[in-house]
């Protein structure tokens, strides 16, 4: 009974509550009550999808990581736009990326980053969580893609989750 009333993931609850206050027009009594209900209900309902607590050890490194990703999105968008408008055919390639990250949350963050940065889409993760299949729109060789992703993103994520 007490388990039902608790907040199994305090950070998720806090984020949900704050997001709800931002979404509603100004903070009022009603929005606080509804925000509390949502902050309690959603983690309870989705508890089954979180097999283990996310270990987010070094959260203060997050803003620097987001800044790098944001900058890369803008820079790489221009190169993809140039490729689309130029008459030459792209050289697509499927890359099997050997993952060094182990935490599931870290892997899904890396996969999302890869999909958001233009020119690469992560297509699948192998069942043992060791390989990531990436489709690159225009790349010379698979080693080029692997090195770029490892040096730019995976190292930062490894520092964040270790």
């Amino acid at each position: 009974m007490l388990d039902r009333l608790s907040f199994p993931q305090p950070w998720l609850s806090l984020i949900l509550f704050t997001t709800w206050q931002m979404l509603s027009d100004g903070v009022s009594g009603g929005s606080i009550v509804l925000g509390l209900i949502l902050a309690w209900l959603i983690p309870q309902l989705t508890a089954g999808f979180w097999p283990e607590r996310p270990a987010f050890v070094k959260a203060w490194r997050m803003p620097a990581y987001l800044a790098i990703v944001l900058k890369d999105i803008v820079v790489a968008s221009f190169s993809v736009a140039r490729l689309i408008l130029s008459p030459r055919q792209p050289r697509p390639i499927f890359v099997c990326y050997p993952l060094k990250l182990e935490h599931p949350l870290a892997i899904s963050m890396l996969a999302s980053t890869i999909s958001l940065t233009p020119g690469t889409v992560s297509a699948d993760v192998s069942d043992d969580n060791k390989t990531l299949l990436i489709h690159a729109l225009d790349a010379g060789s698979d080693q080029e893609v692997i090195d770029a992703i490892h040096n730019r993103y995976e190292k930062l994520l490894m520092e964040m989750f270790q």
Partner: protein, 110 residues
């Protein structure tokens, strides 16, 4: 509204529109499913980002407060776009969509 704000808003709107258009052109021009997947994901990231930014500047320049809703829309979009791209790619590999001849490497199925 100051002329600087107006210029900035117009420039951002044009940039966003241009990237959305290029994404659509990419969808029509690129040769196979997997390369076409790249067009729309790009249009949403920079195109929508620029349009949202212009909306934020517009409402703050009119003194109606910073639009938190726009920023949240962008954040939600950035969180969901990679997931949908991932599921599309997975579904395509599952039903064995053919890739263009020049593609190096192979999709695996498990």
């Amino acid at each position: 509204m100051s002329p600087i704000a107006e210029t900035l808003i117009s420039a951002l709107l044009l940039l966003g529109g241009a990237f959305t258009l290029i994404g659509a052109i990419g969808l029509a021009r690129l040769p196979d499913f997997f390369t076409r997947l790249h067009g729309p994901t790009k249009a949403t990231t920079v195109g929508v980002g620029a349009i949202m930014l212009s909306s934020v500047i517009y409402f703050s320049a009119r003194g109606e407060g910073v639009g938190i809703a726009e920023i949240l829309i962008t954040v939600f979009l950035f969180m969901t776009a990679p997931v949908s791209a991932n599921i599309l790619a997975k579904a395509a590999m599952h039903i064995g969509v053919s890739t263009m001849v020049e593609t190096e490497g192979k999709p695996w199925d498990q």
